[in-house]
Symmetry: C2
Subunit: 330 residues, 2 copies
């Protein structure tokens, strides 16, 4: 029997990835480009028209065509993992900070162009679905996927389904307050997890510390203060820089407290922590595991495992295949 | 057609309530006694033997017999709402702080005594089930029940089912950290919601303030510092006492931040806030609503309603009927 084919997109602020996949979550072909907010469409040969959002939608559509090739007609549905805030019911992205200032009706635009069912969900929810279905985690019904990169987000699988809640927005752990008097967050709260633990927050904390004149090798590594990134902090911490170590530890330790919060609140079996900041390896996972080991209430923590994504960077694409499958059955 | 009958128990640290109910969640008979940790059984005429836990189980059993009367044989199953931590799979209570220092295999003890299926779940989860099924909230699939009394707990209904997670412990918002540098909590963390917003925490904060000699009518109302309770704080706040107002506001405002956290994390449609501390009325609901109105991200907060329990004190008993129904069908 022939494979059932699906198209999957992982749309991010810096790149767009697309894949042709089958019902086993296998990726048959893949393609990747840089996200362009003034994309004209290579074949069209004219200057950009339309909004930033429309450009992005056009680029996503062209990439889908490229990766599908002659099998486009065969593909049953399209799934898209996209940055939030977005409404998965309507497939509208509400000016996602790292992508565009426009509201983008991505589901409608892609359905119109391709005449296929399209499902759009936020990237953390998609990654949770992907890891759960195709990550080889066994028959668990309770997997929580936490991603720590530019921002912090999560997706909840509980009792064998994606828990996205009433507004399809569940999992926004990045915008839960963990330090009432902590740093301001873009969402209007203080002390959100994202404002302390994201790559952006780590870089900001390092720059602020350097600006007070504290000695650190981070300055040499980055060249100048405003070029310091989370990677700089990790690199310096690994080389023994005490300021970098203390800044990164605070983020990782606080992330551990957030993981304990989530274990207490939703009781997952498997906690998968992915995203760019996890490139720090044990520098991140170590303090998180220690918090979970020492601060989780006994019964709540029983049998809980913490791990890196088995699908690595492909969790989102795999989840987009799941979204497409669900949509074609709906 | 005759009613299907179920037995329901709401076991608390100060009182035990039992009811005979039907499949519509209607309570046909009810009975209530004070919880006794050295309960001998009125009819037995001997001095207490056995552990504290066994005494409690015996008292629960006797109360079930009393409320069931001649219809005991008819009742299909027993549901119990009990204080956590407990494992709803085994029905074992793990030395719940406000009840007993023993581990109490309540499900096994009651099944042995009555020869009927027994389901035990924690009181906040039971109350969530009760409000959802019988609270007249319409066809919502997403209801979150938060209780604020001696402790703080919650129960999550999402996508039309109780979300208790892998260890049946989900909903423990009382033990999520909201203030990294906040007061110590019995669970071993700092700045848990329960350590700031519970009745116990409010009373503790008031006593601490009075001990520093700050002027307040709370002292007159309570007679002496160690008699100050959360009720004293509420009473004094209503009479215009500024210290009491500021102490209660901090608890209510922080509870509001916890509600925003939960809205971001699980995206409920209906937020029901119950428990003894809600007797404070608008003093509590006001700051919570204000936080939710000003600090919830737009899409996450769309259409969310905050309200008091429609079933009042009976949410737990109604939920215990639901537990019994589920158990008899299992």
């Amino acid at each position: 029997m022939l494979d059932r084919l699906y198209l999957a997109v992982d749309l991010g602020g810096t790149r767009v990835r697309a894949a042709l996949g089958n019902e086993h979550g296998q990726i048959l072909r893949r393609q990747e480009v840089r996200t362009e907010r003034d994309y004209a469409g290579a074949a069209r040969g004219h200057w950009p028209e339309g909004s930033e959002g429309e450009h992005i939608a056009r680029q996503v559509g062209d990439l889908i065509e490229q990766v599908a090739g002659y099998r486009l007609a065969e593909a049953r549905a399209i799934g898209v993992a996209a940055p939030g805030p977005l409404d998965a019911r309507t497939g509208i992205l509400y000016h996602p900070v790292n992508l565009t200032k426009d509201d983008l009706p991505l589901k409608d635009l892609l359905e119109e162009r391709f005449g296929k069912p399209v499902a759009v969900h936020n990237d953390a929810n998609a990654a949770a679905l992907g890891e759960w279905r195709y990550g080889g985690h066994g028959p668990t019904e309770h997997l929580w996927y936490l991603t720590v990169s530019t921002g912090v987000g999560s997706g909840i699988i509980s009792h064998g389904r994606l828990i996205d809640g009433f507004n399809t927005t569940a999992g926004e752990i990045g915008h839960t307050v963990i330090d009432l008097n902590g740093p301001e967050c873009a969402c209007g709260n203080r002390g959100c997890v994202e404002a302390i633990c994201s790559g952006t927050a780590i870089a900001r904390a390092a720059r602020a510390a350097l600006q007070t004149g504290q000695p650190s090798s981070m300055l040499q590594l980055a060249g100048q203060v405003d070029r310091v990134t989370a990677e700089t902090v990790v690199q310096a911490a690994r080389q023994g820089d005490e300021l970098a170590q203390s800044i990164f530890f605070h983020a990782a330790d606080t992330l551990g407290a957030a993981v304990v919060n989530a274990i207490h609140m939703i009781s997952p079996e498997i906690v998968v922590i992915g995203g760019g900041v996890t490139n720090a390896g044990e520098l991140l996972y170590g303090p998180v595991r220690e918090r979970v080991r020492t601060k989780t209430m006994a019964l709540c923590g029983q049998g809980v495992r913490i791990m890196a994504p088995r699908l690595g960077e492909d969790s989102g694409l795999a989840g987009a295949i799941v979204l497409a499958m669900r949509q074609s059955e709906a």
